[in-house]
């Protein structure tokens, strides 16, 4: 393989590939990036065996097609070059020479043949095309609520359900749950549901565009899912477990309903949270006639009191929450006014944007 490239051209692609490189793998090959050059393009691939990416990269000139794998230090190296013209040349022993101006580096690689590829099942079940912006919106609204560790594997991901032209997505760590539903322009014939690992979601959200005209193709397989973007393909394993029945924990009827200015509420909670101890971010929220009071206390450390005017004419109620769970959702709601719907101080509560039923956030209180 022999090619010439602009530093910026290849660096962008390499940095995306870097997200997908396995960290702490025992297999040296997985710390490498697969370079494959045909007559027109250079393709870069990286994988950690659960998720893989293949990026199409336009370079100045491919003088000799070929393939090899190069350790990820090539990224740091190329980043440090100051001139834009870079030459990359690999010999038959997979040793790669990287040249820029008068600098010349040799990096020892490994044969491309052994690079593991995430196998796509033989049969693609179906495909769907959707707006990148919509997918990004769905993910950003909910993924922070997913379980961050693997103590419960099925919660360490985001659940997606595709049915007709409807898409539903859910993330939960069993203490709170974020739910989003939307319509797509096109639909699927059958019904698909997948738990996509949080790690995959974290990477996907980084590469999705905010541009409404850009589309993504999702290919459904039995045990994997593939995302095709303009210049890259991402293949991820799915979490092959059952997702909890989230519908049964989303309350449908409420006893109390309050309308609260989002910004006022968010900044009051953020201030009150500063008083709570690091571990227990307990804030007590009291609703009374047209007012909302926030209290927080940390033993021997201090107390917080906040009061804001709201619209509420229900029974007085007092509920304790983890402030972090409340702050999380207030960051993603766009409406100026939020609705808080409660049943009692011991039942799940709902927080959502006023007049918008597509996004719901369900949060469990802290028992007194």
């Amino acid at each position: 393989m022999k090619l010439k490239t602009k530093r910026t051209e290849i660096l962008d692609s390499l940095q995306i590939a870097q997200y997908f490189i396995s960290t702490g793998s025992t297999l040296p090959l997985l710390s490498n990036i697969l370079f494959e050059a045909d007559n027109d393009f250079l393709y870069l691939s990286a994988t950690d065996m659960d998720i893989s990416v293949r990026i199409k990269c336009k370079v100045d000139k491919i003088e000799q097609p070929g393939k090899t794998t190069i350790p990820k230090k090539i990224i740091a190296l190329i980043k440090e070059f100051t001139d834009d013209d870079i030459k990359i040349e690999t010999d038959k022993n997979d040793n790669t020479k990287v040249q820029c101006k008068k600098a010349s580096y040799k990096i020892n690689g490994l044969p491309a043949e052994d690079f593991p590829v995430l196998q796509l099942d033989e049969k693609k079940l179906e495909s769907i095309k959707m707006s990148q912006k919509l997918l990004k919106e769905i993910i950003s609204k909910i993924y922070y609520a997913a379980l961050k560790d693997t103590t419960k594997r099925n919660l360490n991901g985001v659940f997606f359900k595709f049915e007709g032209n409807k898409i539903e997505a859910v993330a939960t760590d069993a203490h709170r749950l974020a739910y989003y539903k939307a319509d797509m322009k096109t639909g699927v014939k059958s019904k698909f549901d997948y738990i996509i690992p949080l790690k995959t979601i974290n990477e996907i959200v980084k590469v999705l565009s905010d541009d409404d005209t850009k589309e993504i193709i999702i290919n459904f397989y039995d045990k994997v899912i593939e995302f095709q973007l303009e210049n890259m393909e991402i293949v991820s394993r799915i979490i092959d477990e059952n997702y909890p029945n989230y519908n049964q924990v989303i309350p449908k009827e409420f006893h109390m309903e309050a309308f609260v200015n989002k910004e006022e509420f968010a900044s009051a909670i953020r201030r009150a949270a500063t008083i709570t101890s690091d571990k227990s971010k307990i804030v007590i929220i009291k609703l009374d006639k047209n007012k909302l009071v926030i209290n927080a206390q940390a033993q021997d450390e201090g107390e917080a009191f906040e009061e804001i005017d709201i619209k509420y004419d229900g029974e007085p109620i007092e509920v304790s929450y983890n402030a972090a769970y409340i702050m999380d959702v207030l960051k993603v709601i766009e409406s100026d006014t939020i609705e808080i719907k409660l049943i009692s101080s011991m039942n799940p509560g709902i927080i959502k944007g006023k007049g918008n039923d597509d996004f719901l956030y369900i949060v469990m209180p802290i028992r007194k």
């Binding site: 203490h175 909890p244 924990v249 101890s277 571990k279 469990m364």
Partner: protein
């Protein structure tokens, strides 16, 4: 609250069995899984055939080869074990979410209320064993009882492929015959102490009063007192929260130099501090682990009054504990520092869960 139904499932010679399953050439033969003698490996698991030669896990592979020159050594293949473990874990979760894994091959389950609404825990244990075999071609041994302590001992009773039930009416007889070393919480040091007090079995332990045991063993005294009477209320706790945080290092060369030992320990203490900070935890129990060149391993612990997180403080206690070892006299090959006894996270203690 009625009587609890607890199952302890323990895979038989797990890693070795996986290897034997996947390579017919290993079946029926003494097999050990571990590092090579050249890399100073230890036996991570051994087949029942290998155990006949006196080989057991944690022994150096060098010694295992001496005991049985024809032993077949296989490098561990954790991806395979994890795969099998996740299948097994899935089977457990078909019955209950109250699963407390102790390692890849061992877990407690509380099946008092189970998804299948099966009343007999023995029937569940049998079903699980069958499912494990059907899906992994591996055997497990099960212990069934009303508490964790007895379930665990029961699972080790008839290995491999065993199923032992200890019902409440048989519990006291069962405990009476148990050697004191098999009691939960009795390690090598406590065992020796017990022997000095002429406590050799559960029956001997039961003869001591609560006061006596508290005098001898401090807070653990009450624990032993109740265990001897078949009382163990500890709940099956799904692993939400890590119970200990620790770091250890195997030295590239066995050492006796105290300055060097102290330096390595200090570094480990600061590594532990970083891990504690990452998880926002403070602990009260500090443990020093030392493995000598002859693979003999000891641990020395101290529980202090306040919660600590700072590496320098941990190091202070570790250096005190070091004085209680043979460091400097005997060559050391591994050093470890760990913290336990975390304060329960207040924020999560009352945090309610969604009712899936």
């Amino acid at each position: 609250m009625g009587i609890k139904k607890i199952i302890h499932m323990d895979m038989d010679a797990f890693y070795a069995s996986v290897e034997q399953r996947d390579d017919p050439g290993l079946r029926g033969k003494p097999v050990i899984v571990g590092g090579t003698p050249q890399e100073r490996g230890v036996v991570a698991a051994c087949s029942y055939e290998a155990r006949k030669f006196g080989i057991h896990s944690a022994m150096s592979t060098a010694k295992a080869v001496v005991l049985c020159p024809s032993v077949l050594l296989v490098h561990p293949n954790f991806k395979k074990y994890e795969e099998a473990s996740s299948i097994i874990n899935k089977i457990f979760h078909e019955y209950t979410n109250l699963v407390e894994p102790l390692s890849l091959d061992e877990a407690y389950m509380d099946v008092t209320d189970n998804f299948m609404e099966i009343r007999s825990a023995t029937a569940i244990a049998k079903e699980i064993k069958e499912k494990i075999y059907a899906q992994t071609r591996l055997t497990a041994s099960a212990g069934v009882s009303y508490c964790k302590f007895l379930a665990k001992i029961a699972s080790g009773f008839k290995k491999p492929d065993g199923l032992t039930v200890v019902t409440p009416d048989k519990a006291l007889d069962f405990i009476a015959k148990l050697p004191i070393g098999s009691f939960h919480g009795v390690g090598k040091v406590t065992e020796k102490h017990m022997h000095e007090l002429n406590i050799r079995t559960g029956a001997d332990l039961r003869k001591k009063t609560l006061k006596e045991l508290e005098n001898y063993f401090g807070k653990s005294g009450a624990w032993f007192y109740y265990l001897a009477r078949g009382i163990d209320d500890s709940a099956v706790e799904p692993n939400w929260i890590r119970k200990s945080i620790g770091r250890e290092t195997t030295l590239s060369q066995d050492i006796t130099d105290m300055t060097q030992i102290r330096e390595i320990l200090e570094e480990l203490c600061f590594d532990v501090e970083r891990d504690l900070k990452n998880e926002d935890k403070k602990g009260r129990t500090i443990t020093l682990k030392v493995k000598y060149h002859d693979f003999k391993q000891i641990t020395r612990s101290i529980t202090i009054d306040s919660q600590v997180q700072a590496g320098a403080t941990i190091n202070k206690f570790i250096q005190e504990l070091l004085a209680k070892t043979d460091a400097g006299k005997k060559k050391i090959r591994l050093l470890g520092v760990s913290m336990h006894g975390f304060e329960e996270l207040k924020g999560t203690s009352g945090q309610m869960k969604l009712g899936f």
